[in-house]
């Protein structure tokens, strides 16, 4: 058996399901786009075109859920088998709206530029996890109206892994798709093996914004995967109980799923959430507290309740330093969602209240996620792992270090850390001599030696630029 946790029982999940459905009917959703209102209308929802309010009856939700797959396949550029997102599989990825980077040389925060994003994408490409790359930072040295397209270009040209792109409008989403099709060779080739997904961040409470709608409609038409996230803030944009926040997050996701599946039943959808709390002193969100982990387990369980692939924030930290708090928050918000089988846990590299990223935190999160992955494997008890012959071979008083059994098994059974400090105290008597951050930086230099660029068609650079600048 594998170690797993749940915090909601079936009755509790049924209550949240019922309340979400009631919310969508009794309060409704504000849909800020004429085309979407028509799509909802056609799908069977009650639509008030004047107030732009949409009320979705149960049978439309049931119909939508019946069109959803329990598994989304995420392809990459290597041509290998896709990641299967769903069920008990747990994958980790980067995430980023960070506009600041903690510079190792100066130990100061500064604004993210394109070169930083490129370096972080390349580091994400060589480390495992990340299993996929959600655009890990926002560069500040490019015009803001095309920053999303420039991010996508950097992803296309620097990683072979599946990536999740962001777009600020339908127009820019189209450009992202066009650029990816250029790299794939054709739109059909991209649709056959979509090596990127689009991120949609919903607005709480109960609003489907014009730009989010454009992204959903655009990708749905072409059948390209969508990673849709709801992110209500408990006590801010959702009521101040965690259960109500789950209801809000769930209702918002269900309404977006109705829209996507009404456009195209074949569109692959991932049910993701950043449901969190509003910190009542800092007046901003908190991603490192116990509630964040509880809410992530809750949204994951709701996804599973409907048989949907799940995702959401995790491995996050509010701290502004690479310190003890970072380790505590990263492990807590990484391990607990993973134990709940959140299929895509996104947050690697990010810290400082979603505002900063660094090469070192990404390396540290690589260590944290591998630590978690070992926990997920549990203790394998089989006739092979309990074989008596090695006990007999060594006998009382002997040591097992020199046995073939140890050589054959230690790498399978033991997590071998890359940067954690272990060993005798005598090796490192000065407690400040090599902090985890320094060890992470050293490992970064070493691991980058294995990086190689993805294969790209001839002359792709100017073609992508032409699309961006159009």
């Amino acid at each position: 058996m594998f170690p797993r946790i749940e915090i909601l029982n079936n009755e509790e999940m049924l209550r949240i399901d019922q309340a979400s459905r009631a919310l969508l009917m009794e309060v409704g959703t504000h849909v800020q786009n004429q085309e979407a209102l028509e799509i909802f209308d056609k799908a069977g929802a009650r639509v008030d075109y004047k107030s732009q309010m949409v009320k979705i009856p149960d049978h439309v939700i049931n119909d939508t859920l019946s069109k959803c797959s329990s598994c989304v396949r995420l392809y990459d550029r290597t041509g290998g088998p896709p990641l299967l997102i769903g069920g008990d599989r747990v994958y980790f990825g980067t995430v980023g709206i960070a506009t600041n980077v903690l510079d190792f040389e100066t130990d100061q925060y500064r604004q993210v530029v394109c070169d930083d994003l490129r370096d972080i994408i390349r580091l994400s490409d060589v480390l495992n996890p990340p299993d996929f790359v959600l655009v890990p930072a926002t560069p500040t040295d490019v015009p803001s109206n095309v920053v999303d397209n420039i991010e996508t270009k950097l992803l296309l040209t620097n990683t072979k892994k599946h990536f999740i792109a962001e777009a600020q409008s339908g127009k820019n989403s189209k450009k992202n798709i066009e650029m990816a099709a250029e790299v794939a060779g054709s739109l059909e080739a991209l649709q056959e093996r979509p090596f990127f997904s689009t991120l949609v961040c919903l607005t709480s409470p109960l609003v489907l914004r014009d730009d989010s709608i454009e992204l959903i409609v655009e990708s749905s038409r072409l059948g390209l995967p969508l990673f849709i996230e709801s992110g209500p803030m408990c006590g801010g944009t959702s009521p101040a109980t965690l259960a109500s926040t789950l209801i809000m997050a769930n209702a918002e996701l269900l309404s977006s799923f109705v829209l996507a599946k009404s456009v195209n039943p074949a569109v692959p959808l991932i049910y993701a959430s950043w449901a969190r709390i509003l910190d009542m002193k800092a007046a901003t969100v908190s991603h490192g507290g116990p509630e964040f982990s509880l809410l992530r387990i809750g949204t994951t369980q709701m996804a599973k309740y409907y048989g949907l692939p799940s995702g959401g924030g995790g491995i996050l930290a509010d701290t502004k330093s690479i310190d003890v708090q970072l380790g505590m928050e990263k492990l807590g918000t990484g391990l607990l969602p993973a134990l709940a089988e959140t299929n895509m846990v996104v947050g690697m590299g990010l810290f400082a209240d979603e505002n900063a990223i660094s090469l070192e935190t990404l390396v540290i999160d690589h260590e944290v996620t591998n630590w978690i992955k070992r926990v997920l494997q549990g203790i394998e008890v089989t006739s092979e792992t309990t074989d008596l012959s090695v006990f007999e071979e060594v006998g009382p008083g002997g040591d097992f270090v020199r046995t073939k059994h140890t050589r054959d098994n230690f790498r399978k059974e033991m997590f071998i850390p890359k940067i954690m400090d272990r060993g005798f105290l005598t090796l490192d008597k000065d407690p400040r001599a090599t902090t985890m951050r320094k060890r992470a930086h050293k490992y970064f230099t070493k691991v980058m030696e294995t990086y190689s660029l993805p294969e790209l068609p001839e002359g792709i650079d100017s073609k992508l630029d032409a699309i961006i600048n159009r």
Partner: protein, 223 residues
């Protein structure tokens, strides 16, 4: 095949820690008439050093390092039987090792013994939790160049001091070099109790042994 190539193949198999191929290649090399001394000094010793680097770089780990030590020891034994009567492998020196009285933790000590012996030392392992009197008796009886004393616990560390004191009183302290090791042991402790050397892991124990005996590594390798 040229001698250089044969030796290179042995090193390559050794670095892969291939317990079958290394002895096979060594047997073939002997059959081809290659000087066994050359195999030891330019093959196995070089391979062992390379394996030590892999261990330091975390590319291989303890169980593989131990196996490499075992392969080296076995190959050295095999080669011995092929030396003509008047040639013998020059041992770097005789080392007796043990954990001190009261300390039964011997995995580290065993590893040190294995690597010392693989690196050309003759090693007599007295075992674990050895009374000071027994150590004195063995020093008198065997006249080793080095005595290696291991202690894993802070409460057994004073045993190292006691051995040095006892050897002094018996008038044999100056005839041997004493190396101390074990998790809580530091160079400061080694200096304080009057040991000649200290190492924090098995690979550096070999270097430290070479250092205190002033073994010229380069000349040992070139044979």
């Amino acid at each position: 095949m040229k001698t250089d190539e044969v030796i290179d193949n042995i090193i390559e198999a050794f670095v892969r820690i291939d317990e079958k191929e290394v002895p096979d290649l060594v047997s073939k090399a002997i059959a081809e008439g290659i000087d066994p001394l050359l195999i030891v000094n330019q093959g196995i010793t070089v391979g062992l050093r390379e394996v030590g680097n892999l261990f330091a770089n975390e590319e291989i780990f303890l169980p593989e390092l131990v196996l490499a030590g075992q392969i080296a020891t076995e190959v050295n034994e095999t080669l011995k039987s092929h030396f003509s009567g008047d040639i013998v492998i020059e041992k770097k020196g005789l080392v007796i090792i043990c954990t001190v009285s009261g300390d039964v933790h011997d995995i580290g000590k065993n590893l040190v013994g294995l690597l010392l012996s693989a690196s050309g030392y003759e090693v007599v392992d007295l075992g674990r939790s050895i009374p000071t009197d027994t150590i004195l008796k063995k020093v008198k009886e065997l006249s080793p160049q080095i005595v290696g004393l291991s202690a894993l616990l802070t409460i057994t560390m004073p045993g190292q001091k006691e051995v040095i004191q006892t050897l002094k009183e018996a008038g044999v302290r100056d005839k041997v070099k004493i190396l101390v090791g074990g998790a809580p042991v530091t160079r400061e402790w080694a200096n304080e109790i009057g040991a000649d050397g200290y190492a924090d892991d098995a690979s550096s124990a070999v270097l430290e042994a070479d250092q205190v005996l002033k073994v010229d590594l380069e000349s040992a390798i070139s044979g």
